[in-house]
Amino acid sequence: MIPALAADGLLAAGILALALGCVATRRAFASAALFIAYGLLLALAWARLDAPDVALTEASIGAGLSGVLLLGGVRRLEGLAEPSPDAETGPLLTILIGIGCAALTVAIGAAVLLLPDPTPSLAPQVAANLATTDLGNPVTAVLMSFRALDTLLESAVVLLAVVCVWALTPEGGWGGVAGLRQPVVRDGPLALLARVLPPLGIVIAIHILWVGADAPGGKFQAAAVLAAMWLMPWMAGLAPAPRIDARWLRLVLAAGPALFILIGLGGALAEGAFLAYPPGWAKPLILAIEIVLTASIAVALALLVMGPPEPPR
């Protein structure tokens, strides 16, 4: 009990210190670096909260991909003209905002402490219905069966985000390859990582996807790892980014959400409710959706990090 409490306390203090550092630091680069460390500690917090699926997602997406994105953003902003120094917030306003935010924290903290005990939970209902899905991982069952609609819509949101990022293409860049062209790195540590890691990473991603049905893991975590395995050689200039008007690319992006919707509509026809799986078919259909969706989401995540095409210099 006491060691566990001490561990939680240390972790909590670390998270808060890093978060404060992120907000207080003057330099954007330092902020982004602290943010990655914060994300990793947060993943540990999720492990302590007995949410291994969330921990994996936080580590891979919240810390990993977001970190790459923010660091890359900081570097590119430094390369552009000095950002016009907008006036800093005045001291009086800063204090007022600080008081307001502190009040919000106190209110939320009070709400957390005043939640009913025992907290109402759907865990018993999930446990009771888990068998009908043939899945062993309750989180996957929620994502793919009980609340499959959210997962479906979320995959559409990710696709729409790619459209949004592409819509920000500067004049003259349309139809080019996604993101900045990366200089080729032939040797050195990055080239080593870019060559050695992907085969290993792909195996790990497939493993995460496969065990996701019964153990912590699943499509989002696997897709994030796959995206990283694409981004690594891309950053080293070894794997070119795709042209955004490539037909195959757009088909892969759309395949996952489209298959999910079509299977859902099939359920409406066969079983009388959208996203209802015919008895005995739940697991194979879910696996099929997960595999195709992993590919779509992996490509989408990588494209989101790469950013819109740039016009040729």
Binding site: L5, D8, A12, I15, L16, A19, C22, V23, S31, A32, Y38, L42, A45, R48, L49, A51, D53, V54, E58, I61, G62, S66, L69, L70, G73, L80, A81, P83, P85, E88, T89, I97, G98, C101, L104, T105, I108, G109, L113, T119, P120, S121, A123, P124, V126, A127, P138, L143, R147, D150, T151, E154, V158, A161, C164, V165, P170, I297, L304, G307
Partner: protein
């Protein structure tokens, strides 16, 4: 207990993130603060999930699945914001 501790951490992160979003002027730092705020919200939800442990699960799987979805959506929003900031900076550069 663990749930309550991290729920309170979440509440603190919400305050810190909101403060950063409102006070900092640098757009990237605002985006970063938005992510801190989001992390805090997820932790509060995580505290709810932990307190709902039962039926052999270490936490209520329904909020856990919701948090997972939320993290992915928040990431997509972050990429969008970063792309917009970079595009705006490049437009300023050219002007």
């Amino acid at each position: 207990m663990t749930g309550t501790i991290f729920g309170l951490v979440g509440a603190a992160l919400i305050g810190i993130g909101l403060f950063g979003m409102l006070v900092r002027r640098d757009a990237l730092l605002r985006i970063l603060s938005f992510n801190l705020l989001g992390g805090g919200v997820f932790l509060v939800f995580g505290a709810v999930a932990r307190r709902g442990a039962g039926a052999g699960f270490g936490g209520d799987p329904v909020p856990q699945a919701i948090i997972l979805t939320g993290i992915v959506v928040a990431f997509a929003a972050t990429t969008l914001a970063v792309a917009l900031v970079l595009r705006l900076a490049a437009a300023k550069d050219r002007a």
